[in-house]
């Protein structure tokens, strides 16, 4: 039964992710006084891309063609490990929060290599910037994980969720809130949202993620775009379910699963709205100001860890 749930959870993630990206886009459009494309536009885009012709650079090697699959696979693998609907999961013993983080780093690694392969300067630029941002976000993520793990007694995701559910007062604890702040900034960094990277830009010199995928087309591009949307979904699910876990089902019955799906949707919509408002309000940072922002998130995570062992 649990395994069916695992597969269902992953399928749900894959199915909802493009919609999430579409929702943020639509909300931004509305905030900017435009009508905006409908929320399910990304689904049409993916379908279209899968049917289109693929053009590959003459300089590229087998790595270029393999990278989209590896990126997609590692992001999808994470959806099996993250508590989206229910806790505990049968795959809990497979990987904890550290495994999740490093699997996402694996996808970034191959995306960067895929950017370097065609030999275009934009790809190299995107790869170098992306690896810089990823490398500087790592300490924050590790410390935020540790702040959560300290409170819960384990880096195991199911246990973290269970522990927060058992102790509602912990929600207000500064360690919790600071870790949330730190992880929120890291989410923006890793998923390529403003103020770190503008997902809607068409100017190559301002791109980070888009520059790496400039050479991809057709089904390869579809896989990469889908993987990016799934990554966004994963981060939102983590932010929602690790910090505000009420709604996640503990005992597997149809009603609890339905409640879990509903609460997940609510959390996703709220987070999407926050991100949309944020993206409309603030401008993109210059690349060399991004480390400052990441240092802020590092200090927040550091404070989260100190608070965690302050209150003991």
């Amino acid at each position: 039964m649990g395994y069916v749930l695992e597969v269902a959870q992953a399928a749900l993630a894959l199915a909802l992710a493009p919609g999430l990206a579409g929702l943020i886009r639509w909300l931004k459009a509305r905030l900017q006084n435009r009508r905006g494309a409908p929320v399910w536009q990304p689904y049409w885009e993916l379908a279209k891309l899968f049917q289109k012709e693929v053009v590959v650079s003459s300089n590229a090697s087998w790595l270029f063609r393999a990278a989209p699959f590896i990126v997609f696979a590692s992001t999808t693998a994470v959806t099996f490990l993250v508590p989206i609907l229910a806790v505990p999961l049968p795959f809990d013993g497979l990987g904890d929060l550290l495994v999740v983080v490093y699997l996402l780093l694996l996808s970034t690694f191959f995306l960067s290599l895929g950017g370097l392969d065609p030999g275009s300067p934009f790809g190299g630029m995107g790869a170098s910037r992306e690896m810089t941002v990823a490398a500087l976000a790592e300490p924050t993520v590790a410390l935020a994980i540790f702040a959560l793990a300290l409170a819960a007694g384990s880096t195991n995701l199911g246990q973290i969720v269970a522990r927060t559910m058992a102790d509602p007062g912990a929600f207000l604890s500064p360690g919790h809130l600071l870790a949330f702040g730190a992880l929120f900034i890291v989410t923006l960094a890793e998923t390529g949202r403003l103020p770190i990277d503008n997902p809607a830009t068409h100017l190559e010199l301002t791109m980070i993620h888009e520059a790496m995928v400039l050479e991809y087309s057709g089904r390869y591009l579809a896989l990469i775009e889908w993987a990016a949307a799934v990554k966004l979904f994963i981060f939102f699910a983590l932010l929602g379910n690790l910090f505000i876990p009420w709604g996640v089902s503990v005992v597997l019955t149809p009603t609890t699963v339905a409640v879990a799906v509903a609460s997940l949707l609510v959390k996703l919509v709220v987070l999407a709205a926050v991100v949309a408002v944020l993206e409309t309000r603030i401008a993109k940072l210059r690349l060399f100001r991004v480390p400052e922002l990441l240092s802020v998130s590092f200090v927040l995570a550091l404070l989260a860890v100190t608070s965690s062992f302050l209150l003991k």
């Binding site: 207000l172 604890s173 500064p174 809130l177 400052e292 990441l294 240092s295 200090v299 100190t306 608070s307």
Partner: protein, 218 residues
């Protein structure tokens, strides 16, 4: 009840410290003034909470004075100074932004280690916030030594006062009203003196960059 008090006090102290960190992150003086005003308001809220849970009504007066003086009056004076000196941003501090933030994190850790014995001895439910207050004191000192503009240093000094007040409140449930009034008056006098100095610096050098003071040697 007790744990709610404890949580609120730690929450308040964290916010106070976080506003202090804005001095190291942002570059515009108006951001600093806003952060200082917000910090003082949160501080007065924390003092009021301590007064409520600790059943000490004097603290309400302290909170009120702090709110008025440091939350409203001084920020208004600072904004007036800022307008007069045109907008000068902290563009090249002695320690760059990312490093300053990392150093401030380390200073907070250091503050934690320094106040550990105090926290161990104290029985009050507010003791968990003391390391954060100590951290704010250290971070304010760091702001004073690593920033070049005189206004930033003034604001850093004012935040230092806030940190000390927070430490006192959390550690001993506040200080007698008379002493607090005396300190407030001190601060106001010191502030007015500094205002005069900054004005003179600006008159002489057309800038409030403290580095320019070493031109006085020649």
């Amino acid at each position: 009840m007790d744990s709610l008090f404890s949580q609120l006090s730690v929450l308040g102290s964290s916010l106070v410290l976080l506003f202090g960190l804005i001095l190291l992150w942002r570059r515009g003086i108006s951001a600093y003034v806003g952060a200082f005003a917000a910090q003082s308001m949160v501080l007065s809220a924390v003092i009021a909470i301590v007064g409520y849970f600790g059943n000490d009504h004097e603290l309400y007066w302290v909170a009120g004075t702090l709110f008025l003086l440091k939350g409203l009056v001084i920020p208004r004076l600072l904004r007036r100074m800022e307008r007069r000196f045109a907008v000068e941003r902290e563009m090249e501090p002695y320690v760059n932004t990312a490093s300053s933030l990392v150093v401030s994190g380390l200073l907070v850790l250091f503050g934690y280690m320094v106040t550990r014995p105090l926290v161990g001895l104290s029985q009050l439910p507010t003791r968990a916030g003391m390391p954060l207050a100590m951290g704010l004191v250290l971070v304010s000192l760091f702001v004073v030594i690593s920033r070049k503009k005189a206004l930033t240093q003034v604001i850093g000094f004012l935040m230092l006062e806030n940190g000390l007040a927070l430490l006192a409140v959390l550690g001993t449930y506040g200080i007698p009203l008379i002493v607090e009034l005396g300190v407030a008056l001190d601060v106001l006098m010191g502030f007015l003196v500094m205002q005069i100095f900054v004005y003179r610096i600006h008159e002489t050098f057309e800038s409030i960059d403290v580095e320019q003071l070493n031109r006085l040697r020649y």
